[in-house]
């Protein structure tokens, strides 16, 4: 009897220690501010980056606290030596980040949520109007759904132009296709943010180190500071574009075809009266809203009596005379631009 009891004793002790060590581990990770996490050397590089990052005052577990199951899986991978080549967040981790980002960045989050970039997987990938015209492809993931693990055929079926299309995993339907981490990297060097006392002037565009496109291929955010600002052409004429480096992020997706012609592909480079303006001169960073920005430069009522805030400035129709990206002086002044106005136009500093 007592021998049998002894037999049970050993595993029971192991179990007890194991159970006790879960809260202990939790406490340990919280209190060690990362060094405990980084002791498992696989995340050394990421840990080093975080230590110098804007978000270094936020403890690892505030973003990475996972379920018990997930933690056990991590430990198992570490012990068994089956650590992946490149340690990275899975799609669920990325979606779990959203409320955490929101906690501190409420306004940015609200703007994003109200803008086009908070679009969902369902709206992007099961849009029958588009899917009939163009075949779904893996390159779609470059700009939306970049965190999805798998190919296009793992996300949508059928991959053809007939449809009807549905997401293989319906739980993706309402998830954001361009989440915070699509353009922001947390583990990036930079000083912790302090609230600026006054508004930064438009002349001082800052590329924050954390801003960078999540490149699905490499599974890392490539900083906007090292992304290319393309040379854009209208026919053979080089188009003047703003030197605002932050646009490099926009150009990754709102990009021209290889010919680099303005307006080709997904390009929105402004031509005509707005040529040379930075994307961010008009578009809010997170909500992309532009309406307010017109009034920054234009008097509410222009000389000719048109209310600029009520103009139909649609960009969806590239042929519209009011297309804000291409409007030329002659579009509104078919009889020629009045002399005085022309002089004024050229004096505007873009």
């Amino acid at each position: 009897m007592s021998g049998r009891w002894k037999l049970w004793m050993a595993p029971a002790a192991v179990l007890a220690v194991g159970l006790a060590s879960v809260p202990a581990a939790d406490l340990y990770y919280q209190s060690s501010w990362g060094t405990g996490c980084a002791r498992c050397h696989e995340i050394g590089i990421d840990y080093d980056r975080w230590r110098h990052a804007t978000h270094r005052n936020i403890n690892c577990v505030e973003c990475h606290a996972g379920s018990l199951q997930k933690d056990l899986r991590r430990v198992e991978a570490h012990m068994a030596g089956t650590v992946p080549d490149q340690v990275h967040l899975g799609p669920q981790d990325i979606f779990d980040m959203l409320p955490r980002c929101r906690k501190c960045h409420e306004q940015e989050f609200a703007e994003w949520a109200s803008g086009a970039h908070s679009t969902t997987y369902a709206r992007i990938f099961t849009d029958s109007d588009r899917n009939r015209k163009q075949l779904l492809m893996d390159d779609c993931f470059r700009c939306h759904g970049m965190h999805f693990e798998g190919g296009i055929k793992d996300l949508v079926e059928p991959v053809n132009t007939v449809g009807p299309w549905r997401l293989k995993d319906p739980s993706y339907a309402n998830l954001p296709a361009i989440p915070c981490m699509a353009c922001h990297s947390i583990h990036r060097e930079g000083a912790p943010l302090v609230k600026p006392r006054e508004r930064v002037s438009a002349q001082e565009e800052i590329v924050r180190p954390s801003v960078g496109l999540f490149d699905r291929r490499t599974r890392m955010n490539v900083s906007a500071a090292i992304l290319p600002l393309p040379a854009i052409y209208e026919g053979a004429r080089p188009v003047r574009i703003s030197s605002d480096q932050r646009q490099a992020l926009c150009y990754q997706c709102h990009a021209p075809l290889a010919t680099m012609q303005a307006g080709s592909g997904d390009d929105r480079t402004p031509l005509g009266i707005h040529e040379g303006l930075s994307c961010l001169a008009c578009h809010e960073q997170h909500g992309e809203a532009t309406r307010q920005s017109c009034a920054d430069c234009h008097p509410r009522l222009s000389n000719c009596g048109i209310d600029v805030e009520k103009m139909d400035t649609t960009f969806r129709n590239p042929k519209s005379a009011h297309n804000i990206h291409t409007a030329k002086c002659l579009d509104c002044h078919p009889k020629g631009v009045p002399k005085k106005a022309a002089a004024h136009e050229s004096s505007i500093l873009h």
């Binding site: 080093d48 490149q86 150009y251």
Partner: protein, 177 residues
């Protein structure tokens, strides 16, 4: 440091002892390396800097080439682990004990011996292509930090490419045969 954090650290350290014992994590381990010891990594970094030196753009050290090698030794290049251990030890020996700490002249002499000595030449011949892969290869493998080499060459990390806007319903794109 405030009081509460100090106390938490203390409690944490106590828990750490229990956990690291249970989980088998050696606490003495360096934090950044999968395979190398801290000293080996320092020797390797110094050696790699001779293979791809820093000038007006980063060299092997700045681009994190040793991270590439460390990561591959834990996966694809597993069979070369011993060659690296022996090779780095030999490198130190040729420089009088500590290659990274030796003066440049002494490092250069050691490097020359490393290349010529039939015992160490195979290690050097292994190292050079690995250095090139870590420096010129894609950063996803641990080297070429922030695309340092691609930027040096004038290759943008990502090209600017839009989608072609076509419409298959408008009759485009169907083979006639």
């Amino acid at each position: 440091m405030n009081v509460s954090r100090t106390r938490r650290t203390f409690l944490g350290a106590a828990a750490a002892a229990a956990i690291s014992g249970a989980a088998g994590c050696g606490g003495a381990r360096g934090t950044t390396w999968r395979v190398f010891s801290g000293h080996e990594a320092r020797t390797l970094d110094a050696l790699l800097e001779w293979i791809i030196p820093e000038d007006d753009s980063p060299g092997a050290r700045g681009a994190g080439v040793s991270h590439y090698i460390d990561r591959q030794l834990s996966t694809h290049f597993r069979e070369h682990r011993q060659a690296y251990r022996d090779g780095l030890a030999a490198t130190d020996r040729l420089a009088g004990g500590d290659f990274a700490g030796a003066p440049r002249k002494q490092q250069q002499a050691a490097l020359r011996k490393l290349q010529r000595d039939p015992a160490t030449r195979p290690f050097f011949n292994l190292l050079v292509p690995h250095a090139m892969q870590g420096f010129y290869g894609n950063p996803r493998h641990g080297g070429n930090r922030d695309f340092a080499s691609w930027r040096m060459l004038g290759v943008p990390p990502l090209p600017v490419r839009g989608r072609s806007q076509y419409d298959l319903t408008a009759g485009g794109g169907n083979a006639k045969s």
